[in-house]
Symmetry: C2
């Protein structure tokens, strides 16, 4: 099977123009077909404040009412997605910016309102991802660049977690490609001491992950990221790594394996 | 040659959800490959006001400074483009929303700052439009939906006039397709009396257009629209019509011919 890399960059990189450009230069240097998924950054929150749209959070995650959906669609699918696409085009990477509505690439289901009404938040079933469209674009030499906006196939856009969207895209594409999933963020990997960037854990297996959880060495936002990573490995993705966006081309990273 | 329809809808339709949905239903019913270009509507202006971004106009056209470029990218490439795409997907039309940066589909050149500095405004050369990408998407059964945001291939997005973008897309695609260009707006066609919607001029030739201009029967924003239309006919487009968005499927329209 052909090799494919699926890379997710977080909002922390999106927010820093120099770090973003450095990442995109390295991304372009990577050989073979690849797919980029980007997070949102602070811009949506800043714009919420300016427009007087109340930001409602639950357990650190945004509740997406009608006004917030419009806002994140503007910021993620509009500004950030097209700026990244134009920046990649500049350096010779034939990027094509997409939301999940485009070509019905990533259909989603609105999350049930019970027990918590998240509003216009969508969950993706990897089995429904339009991999034939993605393979078609990749074969043409195009590089799909996704924002984490999907749709319900009934006319509504949906706000989707970018980490989960990345793992679901990697799972879906692993039918057709030997797929590597790379989570890039602002730290050098999964740290055994959150305050020490030198404490990168080089390898986490499913059983060592259980132990890290018991010892509370993995906490907060890292838990859903690692859950997504292991879900990807259990569903066909060959390799998952977590690393700093600056280190895309070197091996400073946490490698995840089932065993 | 295969037939293709290139349709432009103005901001007046984009602003009215019921009229837009009605138009999209009719658009989907039209047979054969087609491309949609949409204008912007009042949303960008409303958002400018809320964000305290000064709207600078010259001869009825927006001057696009850095803040305004971000704003129109959010509104046109984000909100409007993705809402139209999701609405078309709902009714079974396999729309893919694009800006000119996506797949380098519509490269543009920043307009020279002399005599008037329009800011981040781009002009399109039809010869540089990536028709091979568009033919590739159309052959797959996809329907490209364009906002009028382009890029300069040097990392900057550019705001582009949607009427001109539509005529340039139609000109470029007329190499590969027998192309019909349809301008949909809020009147029944080119009117001999602007206050009487019953005064539609059924046919305008190049020479009758000259006469209408001399008699000042065609004024204001209709002049650049007609200039774009005749430019399209002179550069390979087979047919251009101007009509109300509600009348897409009937023949109430102004037909333009070279002679």
């Amino acid at each position: 099977m052909k090799k494919l890399t699926v890379i997710k960059i977080g909002g922390n990189i999106v927010d820093k123009p120099d770090a973003l450009q450095n990442f995109l230069n390295n991304f372009h240097k990577m050989e073979g077909p690849k797919v980029l998924i980007h997070g949102g950054g602070v811009l949506a929150t800043e714009l919420s404040a300016k427009l007087g749209i109340e930001v409602k959070m639950h357990n650190g995650r945004r509740i997406t009412d009608d006004q917030t959906l419009k806002l994140v669609t503007m910021v993620y699918a509009g500004l950030i997605n097209k700026q990244i696409t134009a920046s990649l085009q500049k350096i010779g990477c034939n990027a094509i910016g997409l939301s999940g509505a485009d070509g019905n690439s990533v259909p989603a289901v609105k999350r049930p309102a019970d027990p918590i009404d998240w509003g216009y938040v969508g969950d993706v079933d990897p089995a429904r991802i339009n991999t034939s469209l993605l393979a078609f674009l990749l074969d043409k030499g195009l590089c799909p660049v996704f924002c984490a906006i999907t749709h319900d196939s009934n006319g509504s856009l949906l706000n989707t977690n970018a980490d989960t969207m990345a793992s679901n895209l990697a799972i879906a594409l692993s039918k057709d490609y030997t797929t590597r999933l790379v989570y890039c963020f602002e730290k050098d990997g999964v740290l055994s001491d959150p305050d020490n960037n030198e404490s990168v854990i080089p390898l986490i297996t499913k059983s060592s992950y259980r132990q890290l959880l018991e010892e509370k060495k993995v906490i907060g936002g890292m838990i859903p990221k690692l859950d997504n990573a292991f879900s990807a490995l259990e569903n066909g993705v060959s390799e998952v790594v977590i690393k700093h966006a600056d280190n895309l081309l070197n091996s400073k990273e946490t490698l995840l394996m089932l065993r």
